[in-house]
Symmetry: C2
Subunit: 345 residues, 2 copies
DNA sequence: GATTTTCTTGCAACCGTTTGCGTAGACAGA
DNA sequence: TCTGTCTACGCAAACGGTTGCAAGAAAATC
């Protein structure tokens, strides 16, 4: 015996013999409505279990109170944790979150952006796919007035808002840590060359080694495309170097896991024959018998939350001065990664 | 120089001096529109980069082409994998997916349901929070005509659609496997007693032991609330039993991870002093030096995909015969879990 | 009692799109 | 010339709310 239709404002108006506008105002506690009618309306609304059709409101207000989030995948705890940060802030502002995974596929990324645009999300938070090197589809959002904030995997161009973790300080700490532990040959499992974080990592790597007056062997810095296969290949290469590197810096914990597994298969003892330091500091690694010696915490929750805050701010600003033509400025928030040491030896 | 408004059908109509209905039909390739106008309209639409305002369409059609997914969290790979299955099917049907996490908090769960209801999602897929024992908020959806399909953590009541992995066969295999390996005292780290899977697990546990004529010690079956703390407590208890259990069956891989960590801290050698078998068979465990001996694969992707298929089917059925009053039937899909052995010894 | 003010309420437009129905014009047949 | 049939399009209502403006009724002021 299901109701054909949910109760509407019209229904209430009809039953109470008042106009819809009166009902609407009564439900909003508008001062211009008499106490009598106001209570009558509110009571009937409660009885009917009335809830406004958000869709109608969205449509009318030309707003959806929804933000889109597009990221490479949900599997990595880094991203699901970032989502928590985003959700927290968004729901605090009465916004919903529409999540989509690009799976590091640029076509998918494009597709998702169009859908989100057509669905009229009020703003978008994105983390780039590993293979995304052009940003035209993102730039196009501007034309439609949809604000955009990147986080973690951000483009190198200045004309975007971004929140990301700077690799310099964390990388410096990590390498200094390894050197202090006596390591002299340190391999790097880096991400795609085009990624900003990859560049930063290489730069800092060289800087620190130079400062410490150690020999730099660029054969120890390998780019990967973040897939398991390319990680294993890179490890193969690194471990075949002579003298063999005694420590490896991996772009993130998942890559480190693959690398450690590979090393183990090569009969190397983790944290003894070869040490690992990685980025992200995900909870999973704490379950390992031999976790990476250290990991650079990148504060995914904070990154997500901050990105959401910026977006909310832009949205509410846009709501007010519809067409102030003050020059657009872009936020560029850097969250310093910090080395967390897991194992003392 | 951002456009104030996105191009609408009206705009096109105005520019071409035709009516909006003509434009609408032209864009839909309606036969009643002349070829001349049709091409004129379509071309201008392309030039203006016109895209229909989905919101307006949703509103008009009283459909949102969006399904809501509510699950305990995104952190567990089981759930993010399930989402992949859901997304795949949903996008195949041109539906968007709105994801929300209940964080095992029933209040949040309620809140999310109301929001989704007000947002007029076309259907909902849910996995219960660990503490959810009442289903009134879910039952209420029926009143609003919102179809609902549960997966994985499903209620025990018959009047819901559900897709879940049956614990019996997997559990039987798991325990027989352990017995075959010589284990006689097998502990169970179970979930909340109210959970259907917990009950099934206990049942099967006893059945198998009885069949094998082994002594049953119910002190070895402990309920937890899925938090790390309660897992550790339970482990404390299990390991203090004499004789100490030589194997432990854990409700899922994450619980197993916590348990194994605890066991290691107690100086027990995993897979030697004490063996673990768990459920879910998540990729993370493959990175351990000593993974659980075996794990019952529960096919999260398939569960998600199947749940989405059922939902799509219900939705499209509902679209057709608006008010056929045939008695509602509920789907009850069981996916048999299957034991995957990791370590031979 | 007339006029002004205040309090309540209704009217109507609007958001962008879809769709049933009506109709002008072209053309053919009688 | 008059009907009748198509073809190609426009009108207008509807989806469910919000909101500026007007206006009637009641209360207050003189």
């Amino acid at each position: 015996m299901k109701e054909d239709r949910l109760p509407t404002i019209k229904e209430i108006a009809r039953r109470l013999n008042v106009s819809v506008s009166t009902v609407s105002r009564a439900l909003h506690d508008h001062p211009g409505i008499g106490l009598r009618t106001k209570t009558r309306v509110q009571q009937l609304a409660r009885e009917l279990d009335y809830a406004p059709n958000q869709n109608a409101i969205f449509f009318k207000q030309r707003k959806t109170f929804t933000i889109g989030v597009i990221l490479p995948n949900l599997k990595e705890e880094f991203f699901s944790e970032a989502i928590n940060g985003i959700e927290e802030v968004a729901t605090g502002h009465k916004y919903s979150v529409l999540i989509s995974q690009s799976r590091d596929d640029i076509e998918r990324e494009r597709q998702i952006l169009t859908t989100m645009k057509n669905n009229r999300v009020d703003g978008i938070i994105a983390s780039l796919g590993a293979n995304t090197t052009q940003y035209d589809h993102f730039a196009a959002l501007k034309k439609y007035g949809i604000p955009l904030v990147f986080f973690d995997r951000v483009p190198t161009l200045p004309e975007f808002n971004k929140v990301y973790s700077n690799m310099n300080s964390g990388t410096r700490e990590a390498i200094e840590f390894l050197i202090e532990k006596g390591h002299r040959r340190i391999g790097v499992l880096n991400g795609p060359e085009k990624m900003r974080s990859s560049k930063e990592r290489t730069e800092t790597y060289m800087q620190v080694l130079m400062k410490k007056r150690l020999k730099i062997d660029l054969g120890l810095v390998i780019s990967t495309d973040l897939t398991r296969e390319s990680t294993l290949q890179a490890m193969q290469h690194l471990l075949s170097q002579r003298p063999r590197p005694t420590a490896i810096l991996a772009i993130n914990d998942y890559i480190a896991l693959d690398a450690m597994q590979f090393a183990r298969q090569q009969k190397l003892k983790i944290n003894k024959d070869i040490c690992f330091v990685s980025y992200a500091n995900l909870p999973v690694t704490s379950y390992l018998e031999t976790p990476p010696m250290a990991s650079v915490e990148q504060y995914p929750y904070q990154q997500g939350a901050k990105a959401a805050e910026i977006l909310m701010q832009i949205i509410s600003r846009g709501d007010k001065d519809e067409k102030s033509s003050e020059p657009e400025t872009f936020q560029n928030i850097v969250i310093n990664g910090q080395l967390v040491v897991h194992s003392k030896r």
